[in-house]
């Protein structure tokens, strides 16, 4: 997954000091080794291998039905792999029932016990271990403080708000200090504002406790914000495992480029290479596009897709000046003003519609772009990625 990056400073906007996956000597905490899972005729997970390291915040990202939840349930012990092995800290988990695995799960529906108070929910796992009573009480107290629910200790789950229930579920799963915490769509049931806050709370909590987190989500923003690494899944396969920056800036396939964030795809053919840049002939532009993607190995005449993110394109008035590289002409079809950004949808002569977004850095604009106006779009050679799959 880690293609050597030329002289580029860093991919994405974040530099990470924590990156055990780049260390060949590091041993993973969780290892999926050629794991497959079939339910009757349907294949939920297919020949999947993945290493997750201690203290890592790992997100499995994919559309619903891609097999990400099944993968997590195999680690929790609710499903057994049809083939392959799952190991945790070097120990093969085959045949180990869920109640003997040192992992705990936070369920999407929270699965709080409705007949127990908040404290009894949190204490439930501790009681199973026959820990002395006062120690249980102390740990419950600590967990309540951690998720800021101390005043609600005696409430029952149906007397709590959605956000409070989510925190009880989190405290209950963390109370046993598991080696790995599994979170199934942990923020799915929360509204947008609360979701954003909780994302950062989860990250802080993970930092503080040093627990390995494995999160399953279909929300790419959630994955991008929280994860050290993201594994993108599609139809039971792992298509890319990389840091959020790499996933976004260097997607391996068209599926990933389109699933994570917005992207414009320009279909074309390789027409040669000049000055280290690929020349891609496309019906969308008069001159061939020049793309700086040195890691690709392409042949002349090969059909490829050029992917450019909306925020990496510039929109200008009028037709493109003579000789401007990577220029695409079109007409403004739609404008969406979002406050911080404005999104333009530009229709090309080919009929394709491209999205361009531009940050509203000033409050006033001299010559604003308007509907049905002829415009041209440009982008730098290294703003685009060539996709062959």
């Amino acid at each position: 997954m880690n293609t050597p990056l030329r002289s580029r400073p860093a991919i994405g906007a974040v530099r990470r000091s924590f990156a055990p996956w780049t260390d060949p000597a590091a041993t993973p905490l969780i290892r999926f080794d050629a794991v497959s899972k079939r339910f009757g005729d349907t294949v939920a997970v297919q020949d999947l291998s993945l290493d997750i390291f201690e203290r890592e915040f790992f997100c499995l990202l994919g559309p619903s039905g891609c097999g990400k939840t099944t993968l997590m349930r195999m680690l929790a012990g609710f499903e057994e792999p049809s083939a392959g092995r799952v190991t945790l800290a070097g120990r093969d988990l085959a045949g180990v029932p869920p109640y003997r695995r040192p992992v705990n799960m936070m369920f999407q529906s929270y699965a709080l016990f409705p007949h127990m108070s908040v404290e009894r929910n949190i204490a439930f796992g501790l009681k199973q271990d026959r820990i002395p009573k006062d120690e249980i009480a102390a740990r419950v107290e600590e967990m309540l403080r951690l998720v800021q629910l101390t005043p609600l200790a005696r409430r029952r789950p149906d007397q709590l708000s959605g956000g409070q229930r989510q925190r009880v579920a989190l405290a209950r799963a963390l109370a046993k200090r598991p080696k790995v915490l599994l979170l199934d769509e942990p923020l799915g049931a929360l509204d947008k504002k609360l979701r954003e806050e909780t994302q950062f709370e989860l990250m802080d909590l993970q930092q503080e406790l040093g627990t390995t987190f494995l999160v399953v989500t279909h929300d790419q923003e959630e994955a991008m914000t929280m994860a050290d690494r993201i594994g993108v899944m599609d139809q039971g396969r792992l298509v890319q495992v990389a840091t959020p920056g790499e996933i976004y800036e260097q997607p391996k396939t068209r599926f990933i480029a389109e699933f994570v964030g917005d992207v414009n795809i320009l279909e074309g053919q390789v027409s040669g290479r000049e000055d280290g840049l690929w020349r891609i002939a496309t019906p969308a532009a008069a001159a061939p596009l020049l793309i700086d993607d040195p890691d690709e190995v392409l042949e002349t005449g090969q059909g490829v897709a050029v992917a450019v993110r909306p925020e990496k394109m510039r929109i200008r008035h009028g037709p493109a000046p003579e000789g401007l590289a990577n220029a695409v002409e079109g007409e403004v079809w739609d404008i969406g003003y979002l406050g911080d950004w404005t999104v333009y949808r530009v229709k090309l002569a080919t009929g394709a519609i491209l999205r361009v977004s531009s940050a509203n850095a000033t409050r006033f604009v001299e010559h604003p772009i308007t509907w049905e106006e002829p415009v041209h779009l440009t982008f730098a050679p290294d703003a685009a990625v060539i996709l062959t799959a």
Binding site: F78, P98, F124, G125, Q128
Partner: protein, 301 residues
């Protein structure tokens, strides 16, 4: 449209009164009559009790009512032991029903979804045949040269036929058989609603399956357990047909005393007193149930 609106308002006031009207007509009034008869004295007449209700003689009427029959009831051991034995038989039967019904309901609730309606239909299916015929059929099964004894003898398990018919065991068999749907259906209703994720969550937190059953499944099925138990216990206390057909002469149950007072002894006042006492015995568990239910609901916002 004021006429229409007026009509609608009147209707919406009448509708909630309907169940009360029903109860008043078919429970309260008959109960009042039975209560009155229980306070009367037996007489060889038509109807066989005095005083007969006459609007004109109020004072005389009330003076003639007394608690004589209740005194008889409470002084005679027979009724006491009949009541006690009814409660005991009903309680043991309810326990047996719970032990048998719970696994049945649990298996139904965990069966694949497309099978569940069929399974529910199978549970209800015996109701298509008359209750009386089904109880009679048990005589054929349980008697000493019946199907059960023949089968056991053929298997070489017994040499002498077992005497089951006309014992209390036969009564338990009959009650458990006849009342099983009333236990299974409420249990199934609560178990089917139960979120399987809760079981998974308990397993995930380190609770083995057996402990999970007691700490999660049973407490959450509690409303069904209470409803099923009451649905079985209440009619079982007053059961008459099953002990009469299967139980033999030694099986004392209050339903039988009631029947023989009414029809053999033609002592309607005493029989009515038995009926009133039976009702009181049955009201107690209903009140307890209501209390449990109210507390359960109160705990919710």
């Amino acid at each position: 449209m004021p006429v229409h609106a007026c009509l609608q308002r009147t209707l919406s006031r009448i509708v909630p009164a309907l169940p009360f009207l029903w109860l008043a007509l078919f429970f309260l009034v008959p109960f009042g009559i039975v209560l009155k008869i229980s306070l009367s004295d037996p007489a060889t007449a038509q109807p066989p009790y005095v005083p007969v209700f006459r609007w004109s003689e109020w004072a005389e009427f009330f003076a003639a009512l007394d608690l004589e029959n209740y005194r008889t009831l409470f002084s005679d051991d027979l009724y006491w032991s009949a009541a006690l034995s009814s409660v005991r038989i009903a309680a043991i039967s309810t326990l047996l029903l719970l032990v048998i019904g719970f696994p049945v309901a649990y298996a139904m609730a965990r069966a694949p979804e497309r099978w569940r309606p069929v399974l529910v239909a199978l549970v209800i299916l015996p109701f298509w045949t008359s209750f009386l015929i089904r109880v009679y059929a048990w005589i054929g099964i349980l008697r000493s040269e019946g199907l059960l004894n023949q089968a056991l003898a053929a298997l070489g398990l017994i040499e002498e036929p077992l005497a089951i018919l006309n014992t209390e065991t036969a009564v338990f068999v009959g009650i458990v058989y006849a009342y099983l749907p009333f236990m299974v259906l409420p249990l199934y209703a609560t178990l089917e609603k139960q979120d399987y994720r809760l079981i998974e969550a308990a397993l995930d937190l380190g609770s083995p399956p057996w402990r999970t059953f007691w700490s999660i499944t049973v407490p959450l099925a509690w409303p069904g357990i209470v409803a099923g138990s009451l649905l079985c216990f209440i009619p079982a206390v007053g059961e008459f047909v099953i002990p009469d057909l299967l139980g033999g002469s030694e099986t004392l149950m209050i339903g039988r005393s009631l029947w023989s007072e009414f029809f053999s002894n033609r002592d309607w006042p005493l029989a009515s007193a038995v009926a009133v006492v039976l009702l009181v015995i049955l009201v107690v568990p209903i009140v307890i149930y209501r209390d449990v239910e109210a507390r359960r609901l109160e705990a919710r916002p």
